[in-house]
C-alpha cells in the first residue's frame, strides 16, 4: 500500500472525530513509516499516544494488505510506561485505533498487577500490542525462549522517557533495548519525553550514543505554545505567617474560594503525608465538601485510584488532593485549576503541573502557588521568572551502574543463558556503559560466576554456571526464582500492604513508619483513621478507629533539589529584597517584615556578599552558611567544609541542608574567622577533600542500600507472598561495613561513592559555586538568636548528615553522661 493512502486512513479517522492531526503527529507518522527511530518531545494530553499508535497500526496494515480477512498472531509492538496506573488509559487509546481501522489486533497489559493466569495465557499467545513497565520487560527477558517472543516485533515505545532518564529504571530500559536491537531486526525504537534541558542527550541515551539506531533517528518537537499564568497565594496576615513548615495548612481558608469557583481543581502536594493531611483538614473544616473531594497518591489501592481518575473525567469531583502520582499520563480535560502547595523544586515539574489545567489546546493554564513558609515566596517569584525565560533543568543519566548490569546479566542467565562475547558489544553500545573497561567487564563476569575475583578453596558460591560451550546459565531453580522476585525491587523501600483484619486491601506503606508504631496506635492513611493491630507476613493488619491522631505516615521518597538555573533565579530574586520596592515582585514585597527581622539580627546579602551566621541555642553551636545554590551543592559544600574544619580541630558535626544554605551544628564553637583565614573555601584539592569527606559521612552508605538490593547482594524476601527467608536476610548496612573493612575495591562498593559524587554532590556545580563565592565578600554575623533565614534549616530533624574527626572513645565518654535512663 502506498504511503499516501496509509496517511489517508489516519486523516480520515481524525476527521471522523472532528479533529485535525497536529504537524508533530504527521511528522512522527512519516518518520516511523520510513523506518526511523526517534524521540518525540510532546507534553501530556497533546495527543502523543495517537502520534505513535497510528504508525504502528498503519505499518501493520502496509505489511499485511489482507489484514481485514486474516490476522497474523504474535507480538508486534511494546509500549513501556513507568507507571502501571497509566496502562489502562494507553490500552483504551490503542484499542480505539485498532478497532476503528478495522484490524483484529489485540491489546494486552502485563504489569505487576497482571494475574498469573493472564501471564500464562500471554506466554502461549502474546497480544499483538503489549503495554508494560520496565520491570515487566526485564521479566520477559527472564523467560525461556524470549527471543522468539520478540522476533517479529516492529516497535517499542518508551513513554514518559524523561521520568525514566535520570533513574536506574532508565538504565534497565537501556539494557533491554540493547538486547531487542539484536533479536528484533525490524524494531523501531521511539521515546516520548516532556520538555527537559537535555533533550538531545535523552535521544542518545535512548538509542545508544554512537549506534546505528541513533544515526537513523529523528527528534520531533511538538512545540505547542501554551499560556501559563502563575498566581501566588499571599497570606493576608504576613506578620504571623510561619518562618518554617512544610504543610501550608495555615492558608487552607484561602484555597476554598478557589475550589468553589472552579470546575475541577487539582491540589499538588510534595509528599504523600502532606497529601493525607490536606485531605483530612479540608474535610474537617469544610464538611460540606464530603463526597466532592478525593485523594490520589501512589500508596493508595489501585481500584480507588482508578475510581478517582474516572471521577475527574466525569467532572463529579470538585477537587483532588494529589502527589506526583497525577503528574504523568492520564488526560483530564475537565481540570480547570491547579494549586501547587509548597515549592515544586523544579521548573519542568511546575510547568507540567500547570499544564494539567486548561488541557485543551489553546486554553490558558492557571496555577496557584501556595507557600508553606514565608521564604518560599521567594521561590514563587523565581518560578515566574523561569516561566518567562523558559528555563528548564536537565535530567542526568546514570553511568556505569554495575548493580543494574549484574541484575541484567543474571536475568539473561536465568532465561536462555548467554555468551559474554555476544552480549558485550550490545552493552558497550549503551549510553550507561559506554565507558566500561574490559577489566570491569571481566570483574563483573567473575562476580556472577565465582562470587569473588578468584577461585577459593572450600567455596560453595552458587549463582551462574558456565557450561562446556562457554554459555553462562543459572541452573539452580531456587536462584532463578529469587532473581525473578528481585527484578521488581529496583525502586524504593520495603513496603508492607495495609489490610483490614477482616480483609480488604487499603494500600501499601513503608516499613520504617510501621516499625515506629505500637499495637493500639492510631494513624491516618488513605484518608481513614486506622488502629494498628499487628504485622503478619508482610501485611499490616488494622481496624477502623474513631480516635483522633496526629500520626500520619510520611514517605521518604526522592528528595528534590533546585537545578542550577533555578538556584540562580532564586538568588537574583532574593537580592531584590534590598532594592527599591518598585523593583520588587509582589511576593518579595510581601516579605518585607521578614527581611526587617532578618536585618535586625543579620543582613540580607547583596550579590557581592556571602553570608555566614552563628549563634548558640540549647542544642549547641549553630553555624549557617548561605550559598543559595540548591540542596545538592549544599550537601557537597557542607561536608567539604565540615571536613576541612575538622582538620583544624577535633570536632563532630551534624549537618543539615536546604535549598538556601546549610548548617554545621556542633557541641563546640567554630571560630569562623579561622575558617576565613585558613582559606577553607579554596577550590584547591577540591576533589581529594570531597572524597575524604565522603568517607567521613554516611551519604555513600545510604546509596549502597539500593545497590545491594538491585545487584542481589541482599535478598529482600518475597513481596506480598509473605514468605519469610529469615536465614538469608542481612542488612545492606552490615554488608557496607564488611566491604569497607575487607574488600574496599569491590566495584559495587565503589559505585556507592561514585554515585554520591555524580548524582548527589555534583562536583562540577560545586566548583562553580566555590569560584563564585571566592569573588564575594564573606560577611560573618554573630547573632543572639536564630534568624528567619536560618529557621527552616535548623529545624530540619529528618535528613541530617554526620561528620567527625574526634576519637570515638572521647565522644562516647561525653555522651555517656547524657544517656537517658528510663
Amino acid at each position: 500500500m502506498q504511503e499516501d493512502s496509509l496517511y489517508k486512513i489516519a486523516e480520515n479517522w481524525f476527521e471522523d472525530q472532528g479533529w485535525h492531526p497536529f504537524p508533530f503527529q504527521r511528522k512522527t507518522w512519516a518518520a516511523f513509516l520510513k523506518g526511523k527511530h526517534g524521540l518525540l518531545n510532546a507534553p501530556t494530553g497533546s495527543g502523543k499516544t495517537y502520534a505513535l499508535w497510528f504508525p504502528i497500526v498503519l505499518n501493520y496494515i502496509r505489511d499485511n494488505p489482507d489484514y481485514k480477512e486474516r490476522h497474523k498472531k504474535g507480538l508486534k509492538a511494546v509500549w513501556i510506561t513507568p507507571l502501571r496506573a497509566l496502562s489502562q488509559e494507553i490500552k483504551q487509546s490503542a484499542e480505539r485505533v485498532t478497532r476503528d481501522l478495522g484490524t483484529s489486533l489485540t491489546v494486552g497489559i502485563r504489569t505487576g498487577d497482571t494475574t498469573t493466569r493472564e501471564r500464562a495465557q500471554q506466554r502461549k499467545i502474546m497480544p499483538d500490542l503489549l503495554i508494560t513497565t520496565p520491570e515487566s520487560l526485564q521479566l520477559l527477558l527472564a523467560t525461556k525462549g524470549y527471543a522468539s517472543i520478540f522476533k517479529d516485533c516492529t516497535a517499542i515505545v518508551i513513554d514518559e522517557w524523561h521520568e525514566l532518564l535520570g533513574t536506574k529504571r532508565g538504565v534497565q530500559v537501556e539494557l533491554g533495548l540493547s538486547r531487542l536491537k539484536t533479536i528484533s531486526p525490524k524494531l523501531r525504537i521511539w521515546g516520548i519525553s516532556a520538555t527537559i534541558g537535555n533533550l538531545e542527550q535523552a535521544r542518545q541515551v535512548l538509542l545508544g550514543p554512537e549506534s546505528v539506531a541513533y544515526h537513523r533517528s529523528v527528534l520531533i518537537k511538538a512545540d505547542l505554545k501554551k499560556k501559563i499564568t502563575v498566581r501566588s497565594i499571599i497570606p493576608k496576615e504576613m506578620e504571623t505567617f510561619p518562618w518554617r513548615g512544610h504543610l501550608g495548612i495555615r492558608l487552607l481558608d484561602e484555597v476554598i474560594p478557589i475550589l468553589k469557583s472552579s470546575k475541577t481543581t487539582l491540589l499538588f502536594t510534595n509528599t504523600r503525608s502532606q497529601c493525607e493531611i490536606w485531605f483530612q483538614k479540608i474535610l474537617e473544616r469544610y464538611p460540606e465538601f464530603a463526597g466532592e473531594i478525593a485523594m490520589h497518591h501512589g500508596s493508595i489501592d489501585k481500584d480507588t485510584r482508578l475510581w478517582v481518575e474516572q471521577a475527574i473525567r466525569n467532572e463529579s469531583l470538585t477537587a483532588v488532593v494529589c502527589t506526583s502520582s497525577l503528574d504523568l499520563g492520564v488526560d483530564f480535560a475537565p481540570v480547570e485549576t491547579v494549586i501547587q502547595i509548597g515549592g515544586p523544586k523544579g521548573v519542568a515539574r511546575f510547568f507540567q503541573r500547570a499544564g494539567r489545567s486548561g488541557h485543551r489546546p489553546g486554553q490558558e493554564s492557571v496555577i496557584y502557588f501556595l507557600p508553606t513558609h514565608a521564604i518560599e515566596l521567594i521561590e514563587a517569584s523565581a518560578l515566574q521568572k523561569a516561566l518567562r525565560t523558559q528555563t528548564v533543568e536537565d535530567r542526568m543519566p546514570y553511568l556505569n551502574s554495575f548493580d543494574v548490569l549484574v541484575q541484567y546479566l543474571i536475568t539473561l542467565a536465568v532465561s536462555d543463558g548467554f555468551h559474554p562475547d555476544q552480549i558485550y558489544p550490545e552493552i558497550a553500545q549503551t549510553f550507561c556503559y559506554q565507558g566500561m573497561s574490559e577489566e570491569q567487564w571481566h570483574w563483573l563476569l567473575n562476580f556472577i560466576v565465582l562470587g569473588s575475583q578468584s577461585l577459593q578453596s572450600y567455596d560453595e558460591y552458587k549463582k551462574v554456571d558456565v557450561d562446556d560451550t562457554g554459555l553462562l546459565k543459572v541452573t539452580n531453580r531456587g536462584i532463578a526464582m529469587r532473581h525473578r522476585f528481585q527484578i521488581g525491587t529496583i525502586v524504593g523501600d520495603a513496603n508492607l500492604s495495609v489490610r483490614y483484619q477482616k480483609g480488604g486491601y487499603i494500600g501499601s506503606i513503608e516499613e520504617w513508619f510501621i516499625s515506629k508504631l505500637n499495637p493500639g496506635d492510631v494513624f491516618t492513611f488513605a484518608g481513614k483513621n486506622l488502629e494498628f493491630i499487628r504485622i503478619r507476613e508482610m501485611q499490616v493488619l488494622v481496624r477502623k478507629s474513631r480516635k483522633r491522631t496526629n500520626k500520619i505516615p510520611s514517605w521518604m521518597g526522592g528528595r528534590l533539589t533546585l537545578s542550577s538555573e533555578m538556584s540562580k533565579l532564586l538568588r537574583e530574586e532574593l537580592y531584590t529584597a534590598n532594592a527599591a520596592s518598585s523593583n520588587q515582585s509582589l511576593e518579595i514585597a510581601s516579605l518585607e517584615h521578614i527581611f526587617k527581622q532578618q536585618k535586625r539580627e543579620s543582613i540580607v546579602p547583596n550579590p557581592d556578599q556571602f553570608l555566614i551566621e552563628s549563634f548558640q541555642t540549647s542544642e549547641g553551636y549553630h553555624h549557617i552558611l548561605y550559598p543559595f545554590e540548591g540542596r545538592f551543592v549544599h550537601e557537597a559544600m557542607g561536608s567539604l567544609l565540615g571536613y576541612r574544619i575538622s582538620l583544624l580541630q577535633p570536632i563532630t558535626f551534624s549537618l543539615a541542608f536546604n535549598d538556601y544554605g546549610f548548617e554545621l551544628l556542633s557541641d563546640k564553637e567554630v571560630d569562623i574567622s579561622a575558617v576565613i583565614d585558613n582559606n577553607l573555601f579554596t577550590t584547591d584539592y577540591l576533589l581529594e577533600d570531597l572524597q575524604k569527606s565522603l568517607n567521613a559521612t554516611e551519604m555513600a552508605r545510604r546509596r549502597f542500600r539500593d545497590i545491594a538490593v538491585i545487584s542481589g547482594l541482599v535478598f529482600s524476601g518475597y513481596p506480598k507472598k509473605g514468605i519469610k527467608m529469615k536465614h538469608l536476610q542481612s542488612s545492606s548496612q552490615l554488608l557496607f561495613d564488611v566491604f569497607r573493612d575487607y574488600e574496599p575495591d569491590h566495584l559495587l562498593f565503589q559505585q556507592a561513592f561514585r554515585e554520591t559524587f555524580e548524582h548527589q554532590l555534583e562536583e562540577g556545580r560545586l566548583r562553580l559555586a566555590m569560584e563564585r563565592i571566592a569573588g564575594q565578600e564573606i560577611v560573618w554575623k554573630k547573632c543572639k538568636q536564630p534568624t528567619p533565614f536560618s529557621f527552616p534549616i535548623i529545624t530540619d530533624r529528618l535528613s541530617r548528615e554526620r561528620l567527625s574527626s574526634e576519637p570515638m572513645e572521647d565522644r562516647i565518654r561525653r555522651m555517656a553522661a547524657r544517656l537517658m535512663k528510663k
Binding site: F447, G451, S452, Q456, Y458, D459, E460, Y461, K462, K463, N476, G478, I479, R482, H483, E619, G620, Y621, T652, F653, S654, L665, S666, D667, K668, G712, L713, V714, F715, H727, L728, S730, S731, Q733, L734, L735, V738, F739, Y742, E743, H746, R800, R802, M808, E809, R811, I812, R813, R814, M815, A816, R818, L819, M820, K821, K822
Partner: protein
C-alpha cells in the same frame, strides 16, 4: 583494652571483641559467632566477601592467644546453618587448640551434637557453674546470675549538637549479663536502657562503661 568487672564477687574481663573471660576458672565465654553464615549466603547466591570467613577464625585465635583459657564455652549460635564447607575449617581450628570446649546450644545450632562430640565439644542446653547460669537465650533463674547471648545487644548514645552513635555492648542487669555477638557477619539490636542496667560499649579497641 579490657574492662575488669566484678560480678557476684567474681572478677571478669570484658574484651572489645565481645568475649568474656573468667580468670578464676580460666574460662572464656563467646556468644553468637555464626560460623558458616558467609558460606550459607554464598551457597544461595549472595556474594558476601569470602575473606570474611577467615576473619572469624583470626578473631578467635586472637582472644585465645590473649587469655590462654583452659575452657572455651560458646553461648550458642556457634554455627549459623546446617553443615557447609566452613565446618571443615572449624574442625581444623578446634584441632589446633587444646583445652575443653562446651557449646550451650542456641536456636541456630541445628548441627547434630554427635558432630560436636566427635570434635570433643560437649553440647548442652544450659550450664551451671557455682551460682552462674549460662544459657543462649537470656533466662532468669532465682538465686543465679545468668550469662547469655542471642540478642546481639547494642546501645544508642546521643549527645549535644544532635550527635548519636550506635555501639555493640555488654548489657548487664542486676542478675543478668547479655554478651554482644562475637561473629563478624552479624547485626545488632538496640535495647532500651532501664535505670538498673549497666552498659559496657565496645569500640574497636576498648570497652567503655557508659
Amino acid at each position: 583494652m579490657n574492662y575488669s568487672l566484678t560480678i557476684e564477687d567474681q572478677k571478669f574481663l570484658l574484651h572489645p571483641s565481645g568475649a568474656l573471660f573468667w580468670p578464676k576458672k580460666k574460662m572464656l565465654l563467646i556468644s553468637d559467632v555464626h560460623l558458616g553464615k558467609v558460606t550459607h549466603f554464598r551457597k544461595f547466591g549472595a556474594a558476601v566477601p569470602p575473606s570474611l570467613i577467615q576473619k572469624n577464625f583470626e578473631l578467635l585465635d586472637m582472644v585465645m592467644d590473649e587469655f590462654t583459657p583452659s575452657h572455651l564455652c560458646f553461648l550458642g549460635d556457634l554455627f549459623h546453618s546446617n553443615i557447609n564447607s566452613e565446618w571443615q575449617l572449624f574442625e581444623n581450628w578446634v584441632g589446633s587448640k587444646s583445652g575443653t570446649f562446651t557449646l550451650v546450644t542456641g536456636n541456630h545450632d541445628i548441627i547434630s551434637p554427635l558432630k560436636y562430640e566427635s570434635l570433643g565439644i560437649v553440647s548442652r542446653e544450659e550450664y551451671v557453674i557455682e551460682n552462674f547460669y549460662f544459657t543462649h537465650v537470656p533466662t532468669k533463674k532465682s538465686g543465679m546470675f545468668n550469662i547469655s547471648g542471642h540478642i546481639h545487644p547494642a546501645v544508642r548514645l546521643s549527645g549535644k549538637g544532635r550527635q548519636s552513635l550506635k555501639l555493640p555492648c555488654f548489657f548487664k542487669s542486676p542478675d543478668q549479663m547479655i554478651l554482644p555477638a562475637f561473629g563478624k557477619f552479624t547485626g545488632t539490636h538496640i535495647l532500651p536502657v532501664k535505670s538498673d542496667n549497666e552498659i559496657f560499649a565496645c569500640t574497636r579497641t576498648e570497652v567503655l562503661k557508659i
